[in-house]
């Protein structure tokens, strides 16, 4: 029996933000900067240790309270969990520092432009950002480390409730309306998921993912369960046509919150779907269903891109871009469907894409927030004037745009390369066309924003007063955008990490992924 204290590291990413969330309630504002810095530092360290241990020793399991499955609830980490944890810590860390400056002591509590006309700016509600965000971080890490299907339900609900609280922080009516819609859709989604869990428990008598994976058979119970789980998580991840709540919710929240919702929160429910689809259900059960997410994903790419092309405000453009990029994530189910397809290429490409999207989309939302803070608006038509005063922010937008389009050397380029490789090996040329067309559409709507940097202003407009913004806002945005760029260079170890504990872990590696991809990428 392995020593329990050895695997206790897995508790860290859950306990650390939970503890600071509670401390935030108790301690005053003076403690905010040291607390947040300490949280990010300790989280970074524990995640690094967990990743190192998984890298060295393979998947880790920690029985909470030393109660073992089937009675106990296990925490579980493999390569997939580690990559998701790293994504959460990196994006969350950057957004935390941005928020420190965004709602810093010298800044107005609520932007006059952002607060609408509803009452005086409410400093109290902004104070709630920190506990809510740290609780959201807790829920997300518990979700990524959970090895139990019912625990996943609980963490999913915690994630939704914290996200709702954040989305309505500045109390705009539009935000409250969007949040109520989001909440109802999310609850419908989690109830469908819970019904699926009930079926699984009724049929196989356990909730532990590892045990379920051994017991699930090809029968009516597992077929019905996969349909319920898929429908529920599709609702939660805002796949077309259930995306309607996402653009208003993400577009009307404060900038750091939008970055968290778009970058991290939607990845939570997607992670569960991916984990259960590939680790738990047999291929015979999932295969007949696999065309549905592919078709919906395709429609999401087309519809989201079209709406982004038509958007008037920058934040709405970025939010619709998220709708399109969610479509990409769902292509993986169709890609792995083909028997000849290189399943691991599609699966790891999809996850690399999720990571890259989290960084790029996060920095785009942060940039939109900085522009709005400085210029008082985020109308795309009037961006050229703002671009003069915020060169670093527009440079960050440029890098993030390159990452979203999937140009080399970003992580998304490698990710799309692998998705294309899987599409060709499986003979699914239709999906390959979609991947390429989606990239072109992304270039089209992102160039609407980028062109602002190159537009010559009429003489009269050249002196537009921009409010001064803290330098840190611009620097953090730039840092996060750079991560999405550097991810392309770090993709080889990331993919090797993903293989640990994946359904493809035992397949023979003919050639190191790293050298092939990088070699092919640089002719």
């Amino acid at each position: 029996m392995p020593d329990v204290t050895e695997s206790a590291w897995l508790i860290g990413p859950v306990v650390v933000p939970l503890a600071t969330a509670l401390l935030m309630f108790v301690l005053g504002r003076r403690w905010r900067v040291p607390l947040v810095s300490a949280t990010v530092a300790i989280l970074g360290f524990t995640t690094a240790v967990i990743t190192w241990r998984v890298w060295q020793q393979g998947p880790q399991t920690h029985p909470l309270g030393n109660w073992r499955a089937p009675l106990g609830i296990a925490l579980y980490a493999d390569g997939l969990s580690c990559l998701m944890l790293l994504m959460s810590v990196v994006v969350g860390g950057f957004v935390s520092f941005y928020s420190l400056a965004y709602w810093g002591p010298s800044e107005p509590a609520v932007d006059p432009v952002e607060s609408g006309s509803g009452g005086p700016p409410d400093r109290q509600s902004v104070e709630m950002f920190w506990p809510l965000w740290l609780l959201l971080w807790t829920a997300l890490h518990a979700l990524f480390l959970s090895g139990d299907v019912f625990n996943l339900y609980v963490t999913l609900e915690l994630l939704t409730l914290a996200a709702i609280g954040l989305a309505v922080l500045d109390g705009q009516r539009a935000a409250v309306e969007a949040a109520l819609r989001y909440l109802l859709v999310a609850l419908a989604g989690s109830l469908l998921y819970l019904a699926g869990v009930a079926l699984l428990y009724a049929a196989y008598g356990t909730l532990d993912i590892a045990l379920l994976g051994q017991r699930v058979a090809v029968d009516d119970s597992s077929r019905a369960a996969v349909v319920l789980v898929f429908l529920g998580l599709m609702l939660k991840t805002a796949l077309f046509p259930f995306h309607f709540w996402l653009p208003p919710a993400h577009g009307s929240a404060p900038a750091p919150v939008s970055a968290l919702l778009s970058g991290l929160v939607i990845k939570g429910s997607f992670y569960i779907l991916l984990r259960l689809w590939f680790d738990l259900f047999p291929a015979e059960v999932t295969r007949p269903l696999a065309m549905l997410p592919t078709v919906l994903g395709t429609l999401a790419i087309l519809w989201g891109s079209l709406q982004a092309l038509l958007a008037v405000r920058l934040k709405m453009l970025v939010a619709y871009s998220t709708v399109a990029q969610i479509g990409y994530l769902f292509l993986v189910f169709g890609l792995v469907r083909a028997e000849t397809a290189d399943g691991f290429a599609a699966w790891s490409g999809c996850l690399l894409f999720a990571f890259s999207h989290a960084c790029a989309k996060g920095s785009l939302f942060l940039a939109a927030g900085t522009i709005r803070r400085a210029a008082g608006h985020d109308r795309i038509r009037d961006l050229p004037a703002a671009a003069r005063g915020l060169p670093l922010t527009f440079f960050s937008i440029g890098i993030a745009a390159v990452a979203l389009m999937g140009l080399p050397p970003t992580g998304a380029f490698i990710a799309k390369w692998m998705l294309l490789k899987a599409a060709f090996s499986g003979g699914q040329f239709g999906i390959a066309v979609i991947i390429v067309v989606g990239g072109l559409l992304a270039a089209a709507y992102l160039l609407r924003v980028l062109s602002a940097s190159f537009t010559k202003l009429p003489e009269t407009e050249s002196e537009v007063a921009l409010r001064p913004v803290p330098r840190l806002l611009e620097q953090v945005t730039f840092g996060l955008a750079t991560v999405s760029l550097l991810l392309g260079l770090a993709s080889a170890p990331a993919i090797a990490l993903l293989r640990i504990g994946s359904p493809w872990a035992s397949t023979v590696v003919h050639e190191p992924w790293a050298s092939t991809v990088v070699h092919e990428a640089t002719p």
């Binding site: 432009v113 609408g116 509803g118 339900y153 109802l184 109830l191 909730l207 309607f244 577009g251």
Partner: protein, 102 residues
């Protein structure tokens, strides 16, 4: 028909009723109620599941799950009601936002 089958079918019925209500009703309060219906449906199925084998004592795990589920459902309902109350009491129009046409 055994009591367990009645409970299971009743649960499924409640669940379907709730989910369809969530999508078909227009009023937010009705939607919130419908969500609670659907939740009760799932819990009923869990409870029916716990006593499937009359010979042995009922399985405690589904009961524990239902208790957790009730706590989650109560908190979610509270948040939904708080949001709805905020929506009703706020009279401002805010600034014009783009409507989602999806």
């Amino acid at each position: 028909m055994t009591p367990i089958a009645i409970y299971s079918l009743g649960g499924v019925l409640l669940f379907s009723l709730g989910i369809s209500g969530l999508f078909l009703c227009r009023h937010p309060l009705r939607k919130i109620l419908a969500m609670n219906f659907a939740g009760s449906g799932v819990f009923t199925v869990f409870i029916a599941m716990a006593s499937r084998q009359p010979a042995v004592a009922s399985d405690p795990v589904p009961n524990a799950l239902v208790l957790t589920g009730i706590v989650v459902a109560v908190s979610a309902t509270a948040v939904a009601l708080a949001l709805y109350r905020r929506l009703v009491t706020s009279t401002d129009d805010g600034e014009p936002t783009e409507q989602s046409s999806g």
